[in-house]
């Protein structure tokens, strides 16, 4: 089925087409969300939210980009919003812990030492990287994360981010430099 036809059928509320779209793009959305959230359950919930949004807002989609790009854009926006709301919750948890009611901030950043076990080591690295990514500005973070996503070209990233290819290149370069700096400082302190 051609993309324009798919969009037309989606706009008419065709259930079979919607099911086909879910089947075709769900893995892509799940893995993209996972790159941002680093948590499988949250990524699965977010994937569900993304397709609900696709179903509800397809009527406003003007087909000026590929359907997959539009779906990616929704996934990225929702992932960033999710991360922001998590941050807010953590900030609140910090406040609660300051006032001595709870000490549930255990999972905020990082391990103090590198664990000897290989798997733990990888988990630690992933957590440290997540912490460093969290400190980047949103656009750098999105560009870097998408660039690490399977075979996504700069052109596709620029289309998702609604910016030029040269901006994407520069954002990725800056993201890498900033990440290296942050990681360097972290390991200097903790090694």
């Amino acid at each position: 089925m051609e993309e324009l036809e798919i969009i037309k059928k989606l706009k008419n509320g065709d259930e079979d087409t919607f099911r086909m779209v879910v089947q075709r793009y769900s893995r892509m959305v799940l893995n993209c969300s996972y790159k941002f959230l680093r948590n499988k359950e949250s990524a699965e919930d977010l994937t569900q939210e993304v397709f609900l949004e696709v179903y509800e807002s397809v009527k406003t989609f003007r087909a000026d980009s590929k359907l997959s790009t539009w779906i990616y854009r929704i996934a990225v926006t929702k992932s960033l919003n999710h991360l922001k709301s998590m941050k807010r919750k953590k900030r609140f948890a910090v406040l609660v812990s300051i006032f001595g009611k709870d000490d549930s901030v255990k999972d905020i950043p990082l391990a103090d030492s590198i664990a000897p076990d290989k798997e733990l080591e990888n988990k630690d690295r992933a957590r440290i990287l997540a912490w460093a990514l969290d400190k980047l500005p949103d656009n750098q973070r999105v560009a870097f994360t998408l660039s690490k996503y399977d075979e996504m070209s700069y052109e596709e990233i620029s289309s998702i981010m609604k910016t030029s290819i040269s901006s994407v290149e520069s954002l990725i370069h800056r993201a890498k430099t900033n990440l290296k700096k942050k990681l360097y400082n972290y390991y200097k302190k903790h090694l």
């Binding site: 099911r19 879910v22 089947q23 769900s26 893995r27 799940l30 893995n31 996972y34 790159k35 499988k40 990524a43 699965e44 994937t47 569900q48 397709f51 609900l52 179903y55 590198i114 990888n122 690295r125 992933a126 440290i128 990287l129 460093a132 690490k148 399977d150 890498k176 990440l179 290296k180 990681l183 360097y184 390991y187 200097k188 090694l191």
Partner: protein, 106 residues
Amino acid sequence: MKNLKENQILGEVEKTLLSFDNDSVLEENPFLYTRIKAEKDIRNSRSKKNFALRFGFSQALVLLILLINIVTVVYYYERNAKQNMQDKLVLELRHDFQIEQSQSSF
């Protein structure tokens, strides 16, 4: 010694950056569509309920406003009628007892 630590740090930085590439590909939940459909149905029924509630509330509000208007109009006319009767009575009394305007405290 200092160089060794520097190299260790740089090595860790590289390994950490590479850890992003080592993610395994997640498999989608086979029941995803069913979950989405169930959620869609819940939202639909919720929005229908909300619509019914909003419709009922707006109807009740319109009725209340109409009622307030009717009560106000009735009250206004009754008060006017009372006032007219009082004025008429005063005039009649004035006429019966031949009281001048200046002598009256009404």
